[in-house]
Symmetry: C2
Subunit: 419 residues, 2 copies
């Protein structure tokens, strides 16, 4: 079979220039999250197929790279379905593995457990520009903290990190699944069809309120419910204090503490924040994953028209493994988006060492070779990055190329002394 | 299906204590190799099945985790062999992907190209203590440097890194495949059976010279060849200058420059080294992979009775992709072994930040909550790691546990001022 030079479809080779930025971001992220008491952990990239197909991953479960059974377990003579062939798959997110990890090590871990994960995930998505089938996720999660201390710390940690990476004027848009539900309930939508309502609502930023109304009509929802729902959003649009407006309207449809707690979260973060961003309550934020049970949030970069991450509270998921519900809340940075933005800015990694190149004449005798290597070792011990290479015939061109690669000074070593 | 708490067979969850050491090692490795001009790159964890089964991976090719085709490409109605089912696999090393990467990006990369890769590889080995099916490899390679400048720089970079991680009194054992071949040739073994001879020789450290002789006899090699071969090793044992001894004996069986070049490599490294180790010429070093064409080397930690990495020159492999031979040489640190050794020493990561814990009384009013969060933010900006947690009923026990986790000081926040 012929060898293939290209990476597999939808995955990419990462060049040195991008790796430098990635390494820098990873170090800033890791250091900042450590300041907030998050501890780094890692799980295998491969998970049992049972865990990956347990309906915690939404549509991502359709995109799993599945791994063939090995040895005697693989029987090709009687294959009825894929399930006969596979026993594992590449993880499509870091949340399912985290919850499995927590269930497995519950007794060894502190309460609350604050985890930082940075690792690759895989999704067999249709390849498209800027989206890859292998990409890095960067998640922080707090397991075992029921109060909004979790939300506050997650948002402060994430935004401090983004600030240190040079981002400003972004927004954290926040909502609560229970507000979403109360708004749908008080409008008169049937509870078993809430998710359909939310799917329409989620399109608000693209199609506007009229579009959402039309979308709901097409799904055959009662006109009265649609009109009540729309009026709520129109009222919100005009309200000075959106949370107070909803508190007033949602009365019996929502637990008493939901809106005051959300207000406390927003106000505490606003008052204690270190980065340049705004907290924005946005009742149209939906977040796709059905496992969210409370607060949900997203990083919006309005100037760029993109979301650069998100998260929320998922108090029910640990119970699927342990049989005992444990509160949990997480925030994921869109690592690849961040890198893309920094690459577009031609981001210069700060504080790099001075780069020197030593050019050695070809066939340098042992003694001079040693002198050059010794000098390089000394230079390195002094904190410089030193590249030792053979001198090309066209030395001028070689130096030009090295300059383009960031080399700032050159030393030359010859077999016999030069005039 | 029931959810599984354990990681998949043979792979492991990494706990925070180990992750801290891993992160520290990665940062030392990355920084040190950058000083030597190595640039970090990354390839996808998934490679085309064609590349993984191209006979460059030796026995590792039997251990591939294979990935099922997806969508229409997967046809279950007529499965004749595994090959019908899979189109990719998880990489089993970083060398095959590097060579593919180099072939793909040759025109964008400097000459010589000095690459650093740190990433996971997967092998479906029989699970055993301390060996996992997913493990990290850490490779440096120089592509495009034909002279021993590559070997010298690779060995200096690797040993400087090991020194900075606290290792000393280790050895770099070095040999050359061409010496191996010349010794077999001048003893009279048939060239097409050299690999069998080397497999026996490779057992020398376990079974001794007598064992190797017996092993060769059992394979039916001529007595005369075995005796000549054994005499060479006996002579070497007694020789003051092993390389001079071989230069004398191997005369017409080896290219003239092989031994002087190896001597220059050994002596230059010895004279320019910064870590506490010895260069040892060891004619019994074989290295399993058949792709090696010249120098081969291993890190030996005799006190621990283990090898902690190795590498060598593989001038022929790039040509399998590009059709044009390019010289290449690499050195791989046994990252997992290094971590295991540091874990056993209960290694303390140097220069960590001061760890403080803030204990917040439950149901703290918004105002006091904000005060606590603000104080934490200030402390973090000053370079401390601050964990903010709710105070437990048994505060004393909570503090004990936090102390065990490395927290050095505590602050407490209450709803009303305390006496």
């Amino acid at each position: 079979m012929a060898l293939k030079k290209k990476p597999v479809t939808g995955m990419k080779d990462i060049m040195p220039e991008e790796m430098e930025i990635r390494e820098y971001c990873i170090s800033v992220i890791s250091k900042t999250y450590a300041e907030f008491g998050f501890q780094r952990i890692e799980t295998p990239c491969v998970e049992s197929i049972e865990n990956l197909t347990s309906k915690s991953g939404g549509d991502n479960e359709k995109l799993i790279f599945k791994i063939l059974k090995r040895g005697e377990k693989l029987r090709l003579d009687d294959v009825k379905s894929e399930a006969d062939l596979v026993d594992g798959g590449l993880r499509y997110d870091l949340t399912v593995p985290l919850v499995r990890y927590y269930s497995n090590h519950e007794n060894e871990l502190p309460v609350p457990f604050k985890a930082l994960q940075m690792g690759n995930v895989w999704r067999a998505d249709r390849p498209q520009k800027g989206r890859y089938r292998q990409f890095m996720q960067c998640d922080i999660d707090i397991i075992g903290e029921p109060t909004n201390l979790a939300e506050i710390e997650l948002i402060l940690a994430t935004t401090t990190t983004l600030g240190r990476l040079g981002f400003e004027n972004f927004q954290i848009r926040i909502n609560d699944r229970r507000i979403l539900k109360a708004m749908a309930a008080c409008s008169g939508f049937p509870e078993d069809r809430f998710d359909e309502v939310f799917i329409s609502l989620d399109k608000m930023d693209k199609i506007g309120l009229d579009g959402v109304k039309k979308d709901l009509e097409e799904q055959g929802f009662p006109e009265k419910a649609i009109d009540t729902y729309a009026a709520l959003f129109e009222g919100l649009e005009e309200a000075d204090d959106k949370l107070a407006f909803l508190e007033d309207r949602l009365g019996g449809f929502i637990e008493e503490d939901v809106i005051p707690t959300l207000r406390e979260t927003v106000e505490t973060v606003e008052a204690a924040k270190q980065a340049q961003f705004r907290m924005v309550f946005d009742p149209t934020i939906v977040r796709g994953m059905s496992y969210y049970t409370g607060t949900i949030f997203e990083i919006a970069m309005p100037e760029l028209g993109i979301s650069a991450g998100g998260g929320g509270r998922y108090d029910g998921m640990v119970g699927k493994f342990t049989g005992k519900d444990v509160p949990a809340c997480g925030f994921s940075i869109g690592f690849e988006r961040i890198i893309l933005l920094l690459m577009e800015q031609v981001f210069k990694v700060p504080g790099s060492a001075r780069k020197k190149a030593y050019l050695l004449e070809k066939n340098l005798p042992s003694k001079q070779l040693l002198e050059a290597i010794r000098a390089a070792q000394k230079d390195r011990a002094a904190g410089n990055d030193v590249l030792v290479v053979r001198m090309n015939k066209n030395k001028k061109f070689q130096k030009q190329q090295l300059t383009e690669q960031g080399y700032e000074s050159f030393e030359e070593f010859y077999a016999s002394p030069r005039e």
